[in-house]
């Protein structure tokens, strides 16, 4: 590239040379030969010197332009962080200063934008709710971390894809379409892949004219909430039902007595017996309810003490003796010899084993053998209660520890359970930082395993 300063100097020299030449030709006739020669010499020297000065002057200007060029090249390459430099104190220098001030302001705006973007992306990433944003045709342009987890997809894969390609929910896509047309926000609750979501969809409006530029969807997983609500409703219904059954029976007998049956002493005794047993059932139910509510409100502190396991089981067995005799069943106790004391709350653990063994006997046919095993492992004590009873169907296994859950309602009432036993057992075991597990096969029997940590 021929430098600008050379070009100008060259042009100036030629121009000046030509002008001087013309002047010389013009003066040729009026001057003498010697004078002309001197005159040409003076002209040549003047030309040479002035060209030199001219070159220096142009050089200075083009240097400023070159500096300006270097500066703007840096900016053009995106290097905004360059320090301010001061150029000559002329117009070009002023332009350079202005450019630098402009860039400095840009830099500030860009930094602010970056900070804002990173702040927003941090907020989005740390949200529990899933956030998905769409452009005006319904393609995904943003998907936060929670949404990635909800629908098991990465933002990269979902980017610029249509909603249905990523999430197969006709309900949501209909809502989205409606919003991209109407621009009115909506709240819907949907079920997707067996999860309940509460979804808030709002349009993204442009700055001018409020054009719809897209939509944003905020999804909250409310599955647990709905499940809890259902459990609560069921619980209230169950409690009322369980309380009403014995009450109805007592009331019925009372009415019969009042209607005249009171005269027949034999009937009176029989009726009173039944009423007594129903009252006992009511009492037991209310006690169980109180125990469970104590556990669930967390007000129940347990005090761990060393307990003699053999004595504990002996007491449990004594309590169960009447049932064992009635069922003609046999309880086989098998406790490892080195295991004599365990740590825990005696009353509570007694309740655990009483409940589990009682269930094992009641849900087994007559004349069966129930086994109680206890052994020590390095981590803690493992208890097994094994029966050869009717077993529990696979789909009920995960639910038997729920309050009032019954595999077969009619049968449970017949054996006289409150429906809270296993729920209490689970609470007690967990209060001891233990684990309770169940394995069962229908018709083969059930194995209940309780693990209690050593300390």
């Amino acid at each position: 590239m021929l430098k600008f300063k050379w070009k100008i100097t060259f042009a100036y020299t030629i121009f000046l040379g030509i002008t001087m030449g013309l002047v010389t030709i013009f003066l040729k006739n009026s001057l003498q030969n010697l004078q002309l020669f001197v005159f040409i010499k003076v002209m040549a020297i003047t030309l040479f010197i002035s060209s030199g000065f001219f070159f220096l002057w142009v050089h200075q200007i083009t240097n400023s332009i070159e500096d300006l060029y270097k500066l703007t090249t840096d900016y053009a390459e995106g290097n905004y962080e360059k320090k301010m430099i001061s150029l000559q104190d002329d117009e070009i220098g002023l332009i350079a200063t202005n450019i630098q001030i402009m860039v400095k302001q840009w830099r500030k705006v860009i930094r602010e934008n970056q900070r804002e973007t990173s702040r927003i992306s941090t907020i989005l990433a740390s949200m529990v709710e899933g956030v998905i944003a769409f452009d005006q045709v319904g393609k995904i342009i943003l998907l936060n971390k929670a949404a990635e987890e909800m629908f098991n997809i990465t933002e990269e894969k979902a980017y610029k894809r249509y909603f249905l390609e990523v999430i197969r929910s006709v309900q949501l896509v209909d809502v989205l379409k409606a919003i991209l047309v109407s621009g009115k926000h909506q709240i819907v609750e949907i079920v997707h892949q067996e999860q309940n979501y509460r979804v808030y969809v709002a349009p993204i409006l442009g700055d001018k004219n409020n054009n719809i530029q897209g939509a944003v969807m905020v999804l909250r997983n409310v599955t647990n909430l709905r499940r809890l609500e259902q459990i609560r409703t069921e619980f209230v219904a169950n409690v009322s039902h369980e309380l009403r059954t014995p009450l109805t029976s007592i009331k019925g007998y009372l009415e019969t007595l009042l209607d005249g049956a009171i005269e027949d002493s034999e009937v009176v005794t029989k009726f009173l017996r039944i009423m007594e047993s129903e009252t006992t059932r009511l009492q037991r139910l209310i006690e169980d309810l109180l125990t469970i509510s104590k556990f669930e409100t967390g007000k129940y502190e347990i005090v761990k003490k060393p307990i003699n396991l053999i004595n504990l089981i002996k007491q449990v067995k004594e309590t169960l003796e009447p049932v064992l005799i009635e069922r003609k069943s046999f309880l086989n106790i098998n406790i490892e010899e080195k295991l004599d004391t365990i740590m825990g709350n005696e009353d509570m653990l007694q309740q655990v084993f009483l409940n589990l063994l009682d269930n094992a006997i009641k849900y087994s046919p007559d004349e069966s053998i129930i086994t109680f095993k206890a052994r020590v492992t390095p981590e803690g004590v493992v208890f097994n209660i094994i029966d050869q009873g009717i077993g529990i169907p696979a789909d009920s296994l995960s639910r038997i520890f729920e309050r009032f859950y019954r595999v077969d309602k009619a049968r449970s009432r017949q054996v006289g359970g409150t429906g809270l036993g296993l729920s209490i057992v689970k609470h007690i075991v967990e209060r001891h930082r233990g684990i309770i597990q169940v394995e069962s096969e229908v018709g083969q029997g059930t194995i209940m395993t309780v693990f209690l940590p050593l300390a």
Binding site: L164, E165, R168, S169, V170, D395
Partner: protein
């Protein structure tokens, strides 16, 4: 001019795909609702399934028309043409799946006043695998993903296994107690329906492979 009409064509193809995906996700919903309605013996849910079928039928006609229009006006070649013909076939498969779901819903209505001879475990398991197959088949179609199509078709074997297991189990029930025969037969039908749905999903997978590679491959053995 040509470029813009090509662009237009691809935009129309994208819209077509959206419609197919919509149909697919409705079918997924139908399968889920039909089987849930059966295990809960919930007649209302069964009615919902029958209602969704109406939309499926409409969608089928709509998509068919769009396909015909695309072929007539754009004269697509090679892969584009294969994509449209594949769409034709896929909607037929989807429509059949919807029909089977309705059949299941009808079984629910028929059994509604009875008690199930046993809680359903294998049928829901089978249906959730089948539902996954339908979803993955359409994912493979949209992304033109041969690997996914091939892998998804393998699940068909599991479905077949569960089906034969259901068959054996129900047979023992029927042998034990002849009163269960009527209901067990219906449940057996349901198993068969789901098994057929899975086969149709495999068909979609095969079409995806044809669409991408131009080769026909039998994945359903």
């Amino acid at each position: 001019m040509l470029g813009s009409s090509r662009n237009n064509f691809h935009e129309s193809l994208a819209v077509l795909q959206q419609d197919i995906l919509r149909m697919g996700s409705l079918v997924e919903q139908m399968i889920e609702k039909a089987v849930n309605s059966l295990s809960e013996l919930d007649v209302n849910l069964a009615e919902e399934v029958i209602q969704i079928e109406l939309e499926i039928d409409e969608l089928e006609i709509l998509i068919e028309d769009k396909c015909v229009k695309l072929i007539a006006t754009q004269q697509p070649m090679a892969k584009d043409l294969r994509k449209i013909t594949a769409s034709f076939k896929i909607i037929t498969d989807l429509e059949r799946m919807a029909d089977y779901s309705v059949d299941i819903a009808k079984v629910t209505k028929r059994l509604a006043d009875q008690k199930l001879i046993k809680p359903l475990i294998d049928i829901p398991r089978m249906s959730s695998i089948t539902k996954k197959m339908v979803k993955e088949a359409l994912d493979a179609f949209v992304r033109e993903d041969v690997a996914l199509a091939t892998q998804m078709c393998k699940d068909d074997d599991i479905v077949d296994q569960i089906y034969s297991q259901i068959f054996r189990e129900l047979l023992t029930y029927m042998l034990e107690d002849p009163r269960t025969i009527s209901q067990a037969t219906y449940l057996l039908f349901v198993g068969r329906y789901i098994e057929r749905i899975a086969d149709h999903a495999t068909n979609i997978g095969e079409r995806v492979i044809y669409l991408v590679t131009g080769e026909r491959k039998e994945l359903n053995d």
